[in-house]
């Protein structure tokens, strides 16, 4: 017990809680609220039905007004808690509302007389209710599975391609002496800072000439030769001792065998970092797929989500649910791999 208390009161000062400790934790608490708050709010909102979404001021939990279905009425009737003139409180169903007057009946006795009350005398009967309909309706309206499938294909294929071509190039650049090696390396590194936004038009032309507009391959291939990846892997492979390669050659291994069975396994940490980057880049990529893809059945999640919010400016119930579904996969990956991701990025310092 004492150690637990010790642990939680571990401070800078010898014994007492130092002022800076207090400020530190205050900052961290505020930061956590600012970073997670918007996402928590998004998730809670995505479960609200349309009436609850337009409610102002909004509430944190998703509520939903209870209704009752009566034999004589086609639509379910909303339930209210009504304070009558004599001071008694009854739960009544509203049949219709005319101006400031509401006509209510007793759901237990639907044949009974209609009670007319001022709308200020009634309070809706509510319960917490997670509206999964937002998700089920959104998924059909939004073509979610198509977009998800496209996004997964792009991310997986692009990442495999990137890892393959980058690691091959990095192997050649780090372990061989050949003419033009330094030129290739310098050329690669000097384009580290060239963003695709600067060469948008000519890349689009190349894609058009090859006939890759409106194809997923047109989204996948152009970004595969990442200078970042080549640089990262080359720096790492330089630390692999040459003696390993020499002795493999003496044993009669071919260059391909050396690459596949010695270099790749040893470069696993760097490959892992590049995998994380590539997945992040490709999953979230927006501008390039936006330009290459104009047919909506080829949209990735990001492009689809953006056009969805434009089409349905006011249908927040569906848009919010789809936003949650779009951020879910990458969040799950992060939850599982967060330690590797944060340390990986911290040690390489690139994005």
């Amino acid at each position: 017990m004492a150690t637990v208390i010790d642990f939680f009161t571990r401070t800078r000062g010898k014994n007492r809680l130092h002022m800076t400790d207090f400020l530190t934790y205050l900052y961290l608490a505020a930061g956590t609220l600012l970073m997670f708050g918007p996402i928590v709010w998004l998730v809670m909102s995505s479960f609200k039905d349309r009436a609850e979404l337009v409610r102002f001021p909004p509430r944190f939990l998703p509520y939903h007004q209870e209704t009752v279905t009566l034999p004589d009425y086609k639509d379910p009737l909303p339930l209210f808690r009504v304070t009558l003139d004599d001071g008694s409180v009854r739960t009544l169903a509203q049949v219709r509302r005319v101006g400031i007057e509401a006509q209510m009946i007793d759901p237990q006795n639907p044949e009974g007389e209609v009670v007319r009350v001022n709308i200020n005398q009634r309070e809706p009967v509510e319960s917490i209710y997670f509206s999964f309909e937002n998700y089920t309706r959104g998924v059909t309206r939004f073509n979610f599975w198509t977009y998800l499938w496209n996004s997964v294909i792009v991310t997986v294929a692009a990442t495999i391609l990137t890892l393959l071509v980058n690691s091959m190039a990095a192997f050649a650049l780090s372990k061989y002496e050949f003419r033009g090696r330094d030129a290739i390396f310098v050329l690669t590194v000097s384009t580290l800072m060239v963003p695709i936004s600067v060469i948008l038009i000519p890349v689009f032309l190349v894609i058009t000439e090859i006939g890759w507009t409106n194809t997923l391959i047109g989204v996948i291939v152009p970004g595969a030769a990442t200078p970042t990846g080549v640089f990262l892997l080359r720096q790492y492979m330089l630390t692999i001792p040459d003696e390993l390669i020499d002795s493999a050659r003496i044993d009669g291994a071919s260059e391909w065998r050396i690459y596949l069975q010695i270099i790749l396994p040893l470069a696993r940490p760097a490959l892992a970092v590049l995998t994380i980057f590539s997945v992040m880049w490709r999953w979230n990529d927006f501008l390039w797929p936006l330009i290459v893809l104009t047919r909506s059945e080829l949209f990735t999640l990001q492009v689809g989500l953006n056009s969805f919010q434009g089409d349905l400016q006011t249908q927040w119930d569906l848009v919010l649910a789809m936003t949650v579904l779009t951020l879910l996969p990458i969040t799950l990956v992060f939850a599982v791999l967060q330690r590797y991701i944060t340390t990986g990025i911290a040690t390489t310092g690139m994005k």
């Binding site: 050949f178 030769a225 927040w316 936003t323």
Partner: protein, 337 residues
């Protein structure tokens, strides 16, 4: 249960290894004759070829082609059908009564975008680097749950620009959470998304929110690389906290700071997707930035003026180059990199 689990896992490992070894042998069988033909030296070219091909076709060649586009006119995408117009695009871009007044320019949208981008870069980078530094310093202290908090600040980095934009539009809309909080505290409702100043303000806040975790991580790594003995020695010599911050932490963190500055500035100049999904460049042209100008001129407009868009991106590339070189030189002359 655990034993069967372990057994299953071992079998899966075994299968995977077997599959990989089979693949290696297969590739080897195909590649061995190739190696006999080109020799060990020649294999290097084979290894570098795929990457070089993609790099050449989709990065290097387009970079050169961009120059050609910038000096040709018309609305045809194919270079052989584009008339050569020399400096026309660039002079049109720079035809200005007064460079500080976008309205006096022929391409007023470009100058508005340039002015917006300039203000955005200055403010965003300053705020971003400052907050990232403070957060990194705090995370570097002896705190409970450092790993957790590190992840908390990093998480928004993973979110896509479209998702970030939607989250914040939902919070900032007329009847959104923020207005509810303001009114609960007795304030007036604010039209955050339809006022030019507020939109510009929130674009900065949101991009800082979404990016700071990344730079915090880099700065934290830089802080942890500073040897603890230095602080111990300084404390022995009677230096206070502030003193050791100014004379140990800051100078030794400078190389990392330089990396953070270069990276964040380059990203700030290219600001596009988040804002595009958040405000669409509006209200009016309040949050129109350079990349969006290129996108609109070259792709979204009815008449696709590829030449103008290429000329504008050329100007942008030049700005990026100057920024990078300038900062690196600054770093070198002050002896930090």
């Amino acid at each position: 249960m655990t034993r069967t689990g372990r057994l299953l896992r071992r079998r899966a490992d075994h299968l995977l290894t077997g599959f990989f070894n089979g693949l290696v042998s297969l590739v080897d069988a195909i590649m061995h004759p190739l190696q006999n033909w080109v020799g060990v030296r020649g294999m290097a070219y084979i290894f570098v070829l795929p990457n070089l091909l993609i790099f050449g076709v989709f990065i290097l060649f387009p970079m050169l082609l961009n120059f050609y586009y910038a000096f040709t006119g018309g609305t045809n995408l194919f270079p052989d059908q584009r008339p050569f117009v020399g400096m026309d695009n660039l002079t049109r871009l720079f035809e200005c009564g007064d460079f500080l007044v976008p309205n006096s320019c022929r391409e007023d949208l470009f100058w508005r975008a340039a002015a917006n981008t300039f203000v955005f870069v200055i403010l965003q980078v300053t705020v971003l680097v400052f907050i990232a530094l403070v957060t990194a310093l705090i995370l570097n202290r002896n705190i409970i749950g450092r790993g957790f908090f590190r992840s908390v600040f990093f998480y928004p980095v993973l979110l896509s620009p479209v998702v970030v934009a939607l989250i914040w539009r939902w919070i900032l809309q007329q009847d959104g959470l923020l207005n509810a909080l303001i009114m609960a505290l007795g304030g007036e409702r604010v039209a955050f998304l339809t006022s030019a100043q507020w939109a510009q303000f929130w674009v900065i806040v949101i991009s800082v929110w979404a990016q700071m975790g990344f730079y915090t991580l880099i700065l934290l790594a830089g802080l942890q690389a500073i040897p603890a003995e230095l602080y111990e020695a300084a404390a022995m010599d009677g230096a206070g906290n502030w003193q050791s911050f100014w004379s140990i932490t800051l100078p030794l963190l400078m190389p990392t700071m330089l990396v953070v500055l270069v990276l964040s500035m380059i990203r700030a100049v290219q600001v596009f997707d988040q804002v595009f999904a958040f405000t669409g460049g509006g209200p009016g042209t309040a949050t129109l930035y350079m990349v969006q100008y290129v996108y609109v001129t070259g792709f979204a407009n009815q008449t696709k003026e590829y030449g103008m868009a290429a000329a504008a991106s050329l100007v942008m590339a030049l700005v990026l180059l100057l920024l990078t070189v300038g900062q690196l030189r600054l770093g070198r002359t002050s002896g930090i990199s």
